[in-house]
Symmetry: C2
Subunit: 442 residues, 2 copies
């Protein structure tokens, strides 16, 4: 179990805002509890994580069909799935100040942590955000913001069968926003009210439990590899075999992956064998035919389902806190983000040594334009002195800085058309010929 | 003005569902009026349109900062923006059947189009979806789903200034979902209740009206080029100079671009000069300092803003209807989608001539793997006979089909290691050496 480090958490939140990764939502109005927004670098970081998921789980295989369904669906979806009746957290209210709390997160269940008043009886609070669709605001128009992307896949199972006629096993995937009205949002992006999920529903043949076991453990391995590839330290990742009494009643097997966040070891992603619970629930409510026909054996049945699920924002936060590093470089303290090259928002930055020498700036822009054709996510920067620029690129986690100096222009003829390439982690610089930069950076 | 063609519209909706482009939301529950979902090909089509926007308006320039803000924001944002008080459509209700209608869309304002009953008085119906945030469902917790992405940018103007210190002119951009509780959703994706926007807020120096005019007309040109690049027929695109009486009171100039949809000529995207209305509204409500400091002249002022805005779903629908083509090929009627290569969901498909010849299948998979490294969005297909496969690829708009036949394997030694490449639009096939396919396709 990792130690909690609230000071580190504060530093990450502060750097995230200062450098344009993550801003509090509606900041100029004092924020809005449980809501955040992504600035340019945070957006790129999240995009790179999503892109890697897409490459690995959709593009590189041929058996997973991506879809993108609406956030507001027919409310019958949430009746069938059990969310209307059962997606609730225990809530208690203070009799005195009327503040409300999640009962399972209170250390003392009798006294209000805000005013010391006495707490009332526990009741179930449904976490789905409600809204009304259509021009009549009555019960018939009650609708919900989806609390998960998964149901968008189960309800499109038949559409995918009809359009693509896939053979088992096959999966569906969705990346998209989900909403939960958390009673106590907290821990930065960790428990927010609006977040983004990357979920897969992978359908398997229930007649072959050995193959189901194999597929389950393959997904577990793929999830772990994914976490390593986006740059998380293996020693900070923990496997939690969820015991039967903590699993949903329909779940036959479930492995959570937890991570040492600055605020403690907490769930990062999940993997669950959900049997045929979801498809059957929708058959029961909708009377739709959600069966699969096996042409070989001429049998018809409802497939079982394995669900690997991740949250983009939790991954962003894990990557940020894993990358956050303070060290001494050349006798000065510095902060940098040790991003893997896959997730780094900016892959390289190009500088002229001095901004007031037109020939340096012109050459630097020429190098920048050349590199940008090969590596779109690069930056040109001629603001402030070079030390300040290095510091800024360190703080946004740029792996390499390319500097055009007087030697590049031929002041030392032996070094003409070479540049310095500085390594973020060591701060060391070496000279590279302009024509070799792309291959060096790649 | 284009003729309406409801039959074409039906064909597009039907092909979209059959081939996995667009599905009605919650289909197995009979759908949900105003909500749709994207299948694998529709998702790719939308993604390609968004990627082209991103490449053109963000990556290829250095002056536009992308952000991604929350769908639910502090409700004060919508009070400041004027949406709480003024974002409404005129609603009338039938006294007899109590059905409700948008008054401005009715031909006869007295009689109910559903039952012939008499219609009551017109009232204003706010189109924002309401919800409650937090555990108390009272007025203090009322919140809204954003009806546009624009306000997420105005409310982050100061964050971008503080993180990046940009010089005027500069912009912000956001791609994301927005929600409007339309009284009468209709025309497929055109007037839906949940949709995706791509908006830019471009901030300019109010002291230089000539430059503002130039920037405005540059954006208009860029929008038109964008539409041509994603494959829309120029003759179907119409420029509408919005007259002063139809513009918002703060808008100094506004150009809508309309398109000949199958249901008539309708708005596709917009461009508006919004002055300093939005930033000033947020200064008034929040007391935040949303000014810009010009270091050269040492002046401080609130910038003006030009807003180019597009809807992803309307673009998807325009691209689909522009691409939809029926012709005769080799004496047979066929349907195909004449997508531009930028937006086509699948760039090429690879087939073995016959599926039951292992040597053909093995060679085809080898070619497929080789191509996939260079062009990720390609498909392998060995289902059904080759004619059926061509027909399927035509219907999803794949520009090229690559077929591995016995000559590829050397049955005719002169043709060894060549494949046929079939052109979607002409149906013509030519033989290409395997090592040249990538460059031929590109």
């Amino acid at each position: 179990m990792a130690d909690k480090n609230p000071e580190l958490m504060e530093k990450i939140v502060s750097l995230s805002k200062r450098r344009g990764f993550i801003y509090p939502s509606s900041d100029i109005y004092g924020g809005y509890a449980g809501f955040w927004g992504y600035g340019p670098y945070g957006g790129d970081l999240g995009h790179n994580i999503k892109q890697h998921f897409w490459d690995k789980f959709i593009l590189e295989r041929e058996d997973i069909y991506p879809i993108s369904t609406s956030i507001i669906m027919n409310p019958q979806v949430w009746e069938a799935s059990g969310h209307v009746s059962g997606f609730a957290d225990p809530l208690v209210e203070c009799d005195k100040c009327h503040h409300r709390f999640r009962a399972d997160q209170l250390e003392d269940k009798n006294k209000c942590p805000d005013c010391g008043g006495s707490l009332g009886n526990e009741r179930q609070f449904n976490m789905m955000f409600e809204t009304h669709v259509g021009a009549m605001e009555d019960d018939s128009s009650v609708s919900y913001l989806r609390p998960e992307t998964a149901q968008g896949m189960f309800t499109n199972f038949k559409n995918i069968i009809d359009s693509f006629h896939p053979k088992l096993p096959f999966g569906m995937a969705q990346i998209g926003k989900a909403f939960r009205n958390e009673i106590s949002p907290r821990d930065f992006l960790f428990r927010s009210r609006e977040f983004e999920q990357m979920e897969i529903e992978y359908f398997v043949d229930p007649r072959d439990p050995k193959k189901i076991d194999q597929i389950f453990s393959d997904f577990y391995e793929e999830q772990q590899k994914f976490l390593h590839e986006i740059g998380l330290t293996p020693a900070k990742i923990h496997k939690i075999d969820v015991p039967a009494e903590d699993r949903a009643h329909y779940s036959k097997k479930s492995i959570d992956t937890e991570y040492d966040f600055p605020f403690g070891q907490k769930e990062l992603l999940g993997l669950a064998y959900r049997t045929d619970y979801d498809l059957k629930a929708h058959v029961g409510k909708s009377s739709a035919d959600l069966s699969y026909f096996d042409e070989e054996t001429q049998e018809r049945f409802i497939p079982h389902c394995i669900e690997p699920t991740m949250g983009v924002d939790r991954l962003v936060m894990a990557v940020l806190s894993d990358a956050y590093t303070e060290d001494d470089l050349g006798g000065e303290k510095r902060t940098y983000l040790k991003f893997s090259s896959i997730v780094a928002p900016v892959k390289a930055a190009v500088f002229p040594l001095l901004k007031n020498k037109p020939e340096l700036v012109a050459k630097a822009r020429e190098v920048y334009q050349m590199l940008k054709k090969e590596i779109p996510n690069i930056e040109f920067d001629d603001n402030g002195n070079i030390g300040k620029r290095y510091r800024r690129q360190d703080e946004i986690g740029t792996p390499y800085c390319v500097t055009i100096d007087f030697d590049t222009l031929g002041e030392n003829p032996d070094l003409k058309d070479t540049v310095t390439v500085r390594d973020r982690d060591t701060g060391e610089q070496r000279r590279v010929n302009i024509k070799d930069i792309v291959s060096e950076l790649k």
